[in-house]
């Protein structure tokens, strides 16, 4: 039974091991086109084609989905089903993330895919903004009806202004969406994908813009508000110092508020793109001024207006934030042991770009991201694996009115860290490491000790056969003391050596103990040093040609038949074994005498 359980456990262990190995051998090919394509010694043009084909096969379904998603999303936005818009946007976002992961996993550096990813990211941003903008537009329509019924002209004016701002924003989004068409459609056509859905989405987008423009025109024409709003007694005017600004330039709004009866007016609120930008104090004569440095405003048209006391509105002015070229400079990297120091600067023609994220790419993969300081400079030390690498810096310009910029590329070689004595000593200088090592070795030593000392249940420990006369091992003595005393009178002095191991025998005694005792007696007689290593047959063959050979072999045969028979030993068989044992022992005693 015990053996069966051992076999079962062993089988389970072997199956587990094989399963673990099989998991590692998911791609058990010793040769694959992918390996061939990157082999240094030769180039297999066929393999290269197949690799490109493999990659395309995995990317194509995603590219196709990403080309179709905007069309479906814009239709849902047009239908004002914002619950489904949120769901579809999340799906679109997930698809974009999948493409990013796939491109990184496949180590793809093809420029088409890189440009497609960028255009797709821009589309995701545009459609998210479009969703927010149109949702707010629908809210404004509801509010307009409510305020019109209530005769609240001030709030109607506010809504008109916000509508004007939203209209311009959506127009800008449409313009940006058209800018992505070239890359998206060209990539789709290159992979022989259907791009009609994407082209259709542009028409749907145009219709949304047209609806908003028409709605805003109606709102203005119905007299909800206008450029010169507010109470006739109040007059609020604003002017922009510069209608076209670029990064790091100041956008300045100057204005004047005239209130009936004179006096110093209260603060005036400045709104940029319908968001309150600041609350500025007015002078004694009612003049005010607001300036803001352009940093994170997106490129395009922006609206600005002022509101006094929540009810007096200025006209809406627009200003354009122009895209400016950014220049990213990366100095030659300084290679130290396993670390590379990257430093450089990010600037425009006129100003430094501060607090901007700069990515460090190693072999096309992002190794680090560093933020520039107020002077546009950056410096970072990054751990790069040993080997040859091509590095460069990249500025994505996601939230800046700047064009993306890449630095020059550098080829660097990071040396293999030489295993030095200092490193080793540094490793062992950590007390935690030493503790772990000592603890692990101690535990394994204890486990090894107990493994060697382990005895199977029922087995009889093997003891040396030679010891001082009359002094068996303490364990043996203890065992003998626990044995029942033999009812047969024996003369201990007759054969001291043999009787020493014979003490306490009685019918029904464990056959294993009888075998062990006989084996020990024979070994002592033959001066055999390792009695524990003898099996019954080996014991029999050891006694070959000796006078007690017959008796010992008969015991071995009976013992094997009964003990290894696999069945419980009956009383008769036990008697047979005991008789054989007694016969063998008597033969041995006779010889010893």
């Amino acid at each position: 039974m015990r053996r069966l359980s051992v076999v079962l456990v062993s089988a389970a262990l072997i199956v587990s091991c094989l399963f673990l190995i099989a998991m590692q051998s998911a791609s058990p090919l010793l040769y694959s086109p992918r390996i061939d394509a990157i082999a240094d010694d030769h180039v297999n043009a066929g393999a290269l084609t197949r690799v490109t084909g493999d990659r395309a096969e995995r990317v194509l379904p995603l590219v196709s989905d990403l080309l179709n998603s905007p069309g479906s999303l814009i239709l849902t936005i047009k239908a004002n089903d914002y619950e489904n818009v949120a769901r579809e946007l999340e799906e679109y976002r997930q698809l974009s993330r999948n493409l990013d992961s796939l491109v990184i996993n496949l180590d793809m550096t093809e420029s088409e895919i890189a440009e497609f990813r960028k255009a797709n990211t821009e589309n995701l941003h545009i459609l998210t903004e479009l969703s927010n903008g149109t949702e707010r537009w629908e809210e404004l329509k509801t509010l307009e009806i409510r305020y019109r019924e209530g005769g609240d002209s001030q709030m109607l004016t506010s809504i008109t202004y916000e509508g004007e701002s939203l209209q311009r924003k959506i127009q800008d989004l449409y313009r940006d969406y058209l800018d992505q068409e070239d890359v998206m459609v060209k990539t789709g056509e290159k992979f022989n994908l259907d791009t009609s859905s994407y082209i259709e989405s542009e028409r749907e987008f145009r219709e949304i813009v047209h609806q908003v423009e028409t709605g805003q025109e109606e709102r203005v024409s119905t007299g909800a508000g206008g450029a010169s709003t507010g109470d006739d007694q109040y007059q609020l005017t604003i002017d922009l110092l510069d209608r076209e600004v670029s990064y790091a330039e100041r956008m300045q709004v100057d204005g004047l508020i005239r209130i009936p009866g004179g006096g110093k007016p209260e603060d005036v609120d400045i709104f940029i793109d319908s968001q309150k930008a600041a609350s500025v104090p007015t002078g004694v004569n009612g003049s005010f001024s607001f300036a803001q440095v352009v940093e994170h405003e997106r490129a395009g048209t922006h609206t600005v207006f002022a509101v006094y006391s929540g009810s007096v509105f200025s006209e809406i002015m627009t200003f354009v934030v122009e895209t400016e070229d950014a220049l990213l400079i990366l100095k030659p990297p300084e290679v130290t042991e396993s670390h590379v120091v990257f430093s450089g600067a990010l600037r425009t023609d006129t100003a430094a770009v501060g607090n901007a994220p700069v990515e460090i790419l190693s072999d096309g993969k992002r190794a680090s991201t560093v933020t520039t300081d107020s002077g546009g400079n950056f410096r970072v030390s990054e751990k790069i694996p040993p080997g040859d690498h091509t590095v460069k810096a990249l500025f994505q310009a996601d939230s800046y009115p700047l064009s993306p910029s890449e630095s020059a590329e550098y080829k660097i070689t990071v040396p293999e860290p030489a295993p030095s004595i200092e490193r080793e000593s540094g490793f062992f200088a950590n007390p935690l490491h030493i503790g772990v090592l000592i603890a692990s070795i101690c535990v394994s030593c204890i486990a090894a000790f107990f493994y060697l000392r382990r005895r199977r249940p029922g087995s009889i420990p093997v003891s040396p056969i030679f010891h001082l006369p009359g002094n068996g091992l303490p364990e043996e003595r203890e065992k003998r003391e626990r044995m029942p005393i033999s009812p047969l009178p024996r003369e201990q002095d007759e054969i001291p050596g043999i009787l020493d191991v014979q003490a306490g025998l009685e019918p029904g005694m464990d056959p294993g103990y009888l075998f062990s005792t006989l084996r020990k007696a024979v070994s002592r007689h033959l001066s055999f040093l390792h009695p524990g290593s003898l099996t019954p047959r080996e014991l029999c063959s050891l006694c070959k040609n000796l006078p007690f050979s017959t008796a010992v072999c008969r015991f071995a045969r009976d013992y094997e038949q009964n003990v290894y028979g696999g069945q419980e030993i009956s009383g008769d068989n036990r008697e047979t074994i005991l008789a054989a044992y007694s016969s063998a022992m008597e033969s041995l005693e006779g010889i010893d005498h």
Binding site: H433, S440, I460, G532, E538
Partner: protein
């Protein structure tokens, strides 16, 4: 066939099997190979050993296993230190 020969054959087959899979998986890792060999020899010795008799070669094998267990402890310690160093 004697138990000793059967044990040697089984252990050799196990080691060849492990090596073959490692070659197919293109992951020849000496530590994994050692651990799998240790598992194999532990199972084989357990199955071969007798209740009443312990042949000398089994005694030697048990010493080898005990040494393997200590080496296994060193490997575990190394792995723990690698994780701590990360």
């Amino acid at each position: 066939m004697m138990k000793k020969h059967l044990a040697i054959s089984t252990l050799a087959a196990w080691v060849i099997l492990v090596t073959g899979f490692m070659i197919l998986a293109r992951t020849m890792d000496l530590e994994i190979f050692f651990v799998l060999w240790l598992i194999g020899i532990l199972i084989i010795v357990e199955l071969v050993s007798d209740q009443m008799a312990t042949p000398r070669y089994l005694g030697v094998l048990k010493l080898v296993i005990a040494s393997g267990v200590i080496l296994f402890g060193v490997i575990v310690a190394r792995k723990i230190m690698e994780i701590l160093a990360q």
